[in-house]
């Protein structure tokens, strides 16, 4: 049996930040175990931007955020095993894992659980109807489109308006897919307001609140769904059924912490969050086992996951070294971003939710009455917000993120290095789609200069060799 001071299960954002913090806190032998072929976890398929506003003060794509941490991990000389899956964990911290070389056991002084979460599947929803192909979770669809380069549908209805559902509505639209509707059973969306604006409104995708899918049609492949309004008790209202023809039903109906290993180690679980019960040091009730990130509870932003990973990693190291545990920075509070449509003004009105920083000011813009006068803004707390709001009502701009194909089939995430006019998005997609890449390629490499006569370059957002 091997030995290690700190074993971190999962090499996603939680695990990577825990590893770096554990090493910084003095642990010599830190080991990250990752089941995928590279570090980064789910960030690798989240090619959209919006990550890192809290942690790095700038907007990054998922792969860019991951690559920053991968660099920290490798700079710190932390050992990591990829393509390796942990299959068992005991209360006395024996980690059993398998990979192509064999099945091995590692005795750890401390363990950090950082396995992330998984999507709720269809079965948990009890949607009546047939069992055809074409019912797919948003995350699986994201993997097919962004990582594998395959289209899982042409005409889709999305059930659930969480952030992944919203992001995928835009992503599919950019790839020429018709997103017919997003249905949300609750009275408001749980997704971030900025995502509702940039993923649905930008593309005129209807968001049907208080609606759910009550039947799936089609024997072999999905042919349509019945969408029905629900009452206050969330029961379908008779007579409101609407048949929508589609070939795919995409589900974005929530995430659940991945707790197989937590349960194998018989760690006390929180019935509400469905993850382990943790204390202020991110410790579970089993001595020496810590937990962080979405394996504990589903976090809104990856930035918060990284913060939690740091505390867990540091304390895992301190436990391994026989030191007292330390809580996180006192007074450090996460700003919660605005969610749902309730903050949004009706379409066409000059009220903007600012997305420059996480505060999300609600800014009213008044156009100048006479030529030569300036725009008036109300509700902004900084000048960046003012500029953003004016831009948003006069000539809105968006950062475009998508993938490009390499000759060998590898998909490379790319983005525009600055926002482009909203009405140029499809023109730019067309230009991007016509080009094929060659490996190796590095993060930041310019692929297309000044795309579509804009000021923006298309740059690579992940290093691949």
């Amino acid at each position: 049996m091997k030995n290690a001071q700190v074993v971190i299960i999962g090499g996603g954002p939680a695990g990577m930040s825990a590893a770096v913090a554990a090493k910084e806190a003095g642990a010599e032998r830190v080991m990250v175990i990752e089941r995928d072929s590279s570090l980064g976890g789910i960030l690798q398929q989240c090619i959209h931007n919006g990550f890192g506003l809290h942690k790095f003060g700038e907007e990054l794509t998922g792969p860019e955020y991951a690559e920053r941490y991968e660099k920290l991990v490798s700079d710190a000389g932390i050992e990591f095993l990829t393509d390796t899956m942990v299959t068992d964990l005991s209360r006395d911290r024996v980690v059993t894992c398998v990979n192509g070389n064999g099945c091995m056991q590692i005795k750890a002084d401390a363990v950090v659980l950082a396995m992330g979460c998984r999507e709720r599947p269809r079965g948990a929803l009890n949607v009546p109807g047939e069992r055809p192909a074409g019912v797919i979770t948003a995350g699986t669809a994201q993997k097919f489109v962004n990582m594998k380069g395959y289209l899982p549908g042409k005409k889709i209805v999305i059930l659930g308006s969480g952030d992944i559902g919203l992001i995928m509505a835009r992503r599919m639209t950019l790839e020429g897919v018709e997103v017919k509707a997003v249905c949300e059973i609750m009275e408001d969306s749980g997704g971030l307001t900025r995502n509702i604006v940039q993923c649905l409104r930008d593309f005129e995708i209807p968001l049907k609140l208080h609606h759910t899918v009550t039947e799936i049609h089609g024997k072999e492949r999905v042919e349509g769904v019945t969408v029905t309004e629900v009452d206050d008790k969330l029961n379908p209202v008779r007579g409101t059924e609407e048949y929508i023809s589609c070939d795919t039903l995409m589900l974005s109906v929530g995430l659940i912490p991945e707790n197989e290993l937590s349960k194998k180690a018989e760690i006390k679980m929180d019935l509400k969050t469905k993850g382990p019960v943790i204390g202020e040091f991110k410790q579970t009730e089993v001595p020496g086992i810590f937990a962080c990130g979405n394996v504990v509870k589903v976090h809104e932003l990856v930035d918060f996951v990284s913060d939690e990973g740091e505390i867990a990693g540091r304390n895992a190291a301190r436990f391994a070294l026989g030191k007292d545990l330390e809580a996180g920075e006192k007074g450090k509070k996460h700003v919660t971003e605005k969610k749902g449509v309730k903050n949004l003004a009706p379409e066409g009105e000059p009220v903007v939710i600012c997305t420059v920083c996480p505060v999300g000011c609600k800014i009213t813009v008044t156009s100048p009455e006479k030529e030569g006068e300036e725009f008036k803004t109300e509700g902004n707390t900084c000048s960046r917000g003012r500029a953003y709001a004016i831009k948003e009502v006069t000539s809105p701009e968006r950062t475009l993120t998508t993938v490009m194909r390499c000759g060998d089939g590898t998909m490379v995430p790319v983005k525009t290095d600055r926002p482009i006019p909203k009405d140029k998005i499809f023109e730019c997609m067309k230009i991007i789609n016509e080009k094929t890449l060659m490996l190796p390629i590095k993060l930041g490499d310019i692929i297309i200069e000044k795309i579509g006569e804009t000021e923006a370059n298309v740059v690579c957002s992940k290093s691949l060799s």
């Binding site: 398998v98 064999g102 599947p121 047939e130 993997k143 380069g149 395959y150 072999e220 194909r405």
Partner: protein
């Protein structure tokens, strides 16, 4: 010219093919779907019934009890999971208690061994989650569980190992009787000739019989809707719990499957369309309501999937096993207890064939056993290590919920009858059967299937036909 053609690769067709493959004869198994076990053999309760229920003297009674006796050995030979978990038939009121007594008598008459009448407390001692309102129970220790599609797959596979040939997507549309045998035509134009034909076509067995002029029976699809719960709900019961039949019929059951999940259902409603496998809100509500009588609390929040199976309900009140035309044998109307009876039905068909003058001799090299599939998740760390050292594909876990490795998936494609679609992999390996229901592993399974079958990923289907999963590649057409 085949000696025998078996129409339908369900459990009855599979068991029959296996039985006949012991003889020196050529066998064709004709299946209308892309895979075996695609009808009621993939969606039923998986109960190996003890045999107290069918009317004494009926084919159902005789073949059920005989099939129950054969099942353990059959499963052992085929390497199929089987567990004798016993059954409790529970009673709630006076009518039920009276019926329980009748059932006990009937069971004894059918030759069911070990039956015992229990009071409510004794029943709760066996299954502690049973409701307080359970007043009495009939205990049937010979009742068991088996995975119905696993049994079917391995039976067909064993027959193939012994020389039988499987024709997939062979939808029989016409049968002609000729002097020397039968000419069987498929919708796609393929033709097969065979001296004997055995009709094991499940809900379509009436249509097949009618192709040789036998219109003596009809088969109605009788839908049964089920809910499957996560293994975490496995504490609910170990034994199979039935409600004693009353004037309202047989009711639902609750059981722990061979794999440790809890299965609830089925409903029992006739449908018009033989392809209508819809799950309905009403059906699920009935299952919920009825299950709540068995237990004080049912963890419905642990439901991972729901499905509907169609039973082949014949209009004769019993299995229809006969030979309406010389050389043509019906095994029709095989509804519950058809799964249990299947090994015995195969023996009966074998006898009918031999009696009708089929001249064949036993094979010298017939092997009734299959190589047991490796189930990586159930191996010890030492065994896992050994497997990976021999074949590194065992070190690559594709399905995280059920811990299924690439090696097991490849084996499922390469072993008779090989999986050709995503659901086929699921039924052979459990990949995609866990609580995330394939969300994580499906892209990986699809890639392995494409690579191994030398197809493009967009050609791989969920379950044959037009059930394709992908609509082509991104950014592929634009560049020229």
């Amino acid at each position: 010219m085949y000696k025998a053609a078996i129409i339908g690769a369900g459990v009855v067709g599979g068991m029959t093919a296996r039985r006949l493959s012991a003889y020196d004869m050529s066998i064709a198994i004709l299946e209308k779907e892309a895979d075996v076990a695609m009808g009621q053999s993939k969606a039923n309760s998986g109960i190996v019934h003890a045999g107290f229920d069918p009317k004494p003297g009926s084919l159902k009674a005789v073949l059920n009890v005989e099939g129950n006796r054969l099942m353990e050995k059959t499963c052992a030979e085929l390497g199929v999971g089987y567990r004798k978990n016993g059954a409790l038939i529970v009673a709630f009121n006076d009518e039920d208690m009276k019926n329980l007594g009748i059932l006990y008598e009937r069971g004894a008459e059918n030759g069911v061994e070990g039956l015992k009448l229990l009071d409510g407390d004794q029943a709760r001692k066996m299954e502690k989650n049973l409701s307080k309102s359970v007043r009495g129970a009939l205990y049937a220790p010979t009742s068991g569980v088996v995975c119905p599609y696993e049994l079917t797959i391995e039976a067909v596979g064993n027959a193939m190992d012994n020389g039988a040939e499987l024709y997939r997507n062979f939808k029989v549309c016409d049968i002609k009787k000729e002097a020397h045998g039968f000419i069987i035509e498929a919708e796609d134009g393929r033709i097969i000739e065979s001296e004997y034909v055995i009709n094991c076509a499940g809900i379509y067995s009436d249509k097949i019989a009618s192709m040789v002029g036998d219109d003596s029976f009809t088969v109605t699809p009788r839908a049964g809707e089920y809910m499957l719960l996560d293994k975490e709900a496995g504490y609910l019961t170990d034994a199979t719990i039935f409600k004693v039949p009353d004037h309202m019929g047989k009711g639902v059951l609750a059981t722990k499957t061979v794999d440790g999940n809890i299965l609830l259902g089925p409903t029992s409603v006739d449908r018009e369309d033989k392809e209508d496998c819809k799950v309905t809100a009403g059906g699920l509500a009935v299952v919920k309501e009825k299950e709540m009588r068995f237990f004080d609390e049912v963890p419905f929040d642990k439901v991972i999937t729901q499905f509907t199976g169609l039973r082949a309900h014949g209009d004769k009140g019993d299995f229809i096993i006969n030979s309406p035309v010389k050389g043509f044998i019906n095994a029709a109307g095989i509804e519950s207890p058809g799964l249990t009876s299947a090994p015995a039905i195969a023996v009966k068909i074998e006898k009918l064939l031999l009696e009708s003058g089929m001249h064949v001799s036993l094979k010298e090299n017939y092997n009734p056993c299959r190589k047991k599939r490796v189930v990586f998740s159930r191996c010890s760390p030492e065994e896992k290590n050994r497997l990976i050292k021999e074949n590194s594909d065992y070190g690559q876990i594709i399905c995280r919920c059920e811990e299924v490795t690439k090696a097991e998936i490849l084996d499922a494609i390469r072993t008779n009858p090989g999986a050709v679609d995503v659901d086929g992999i699921k039924r052979r390996t459990r990949s995609g059967m866990g609580r995330c229901q394939g969300g994580f592993c499906m892209p990986g399974v699809l890639e392995i299937l494409a690579e191994e079958l030398k197809k493009a990923p967009e050609e791989i289907t969920k379950k044959g036909g037009d059930s394709k999963i992908l609509f082509g590649r991104l950014k592929a057409g634009e560049k020229k």
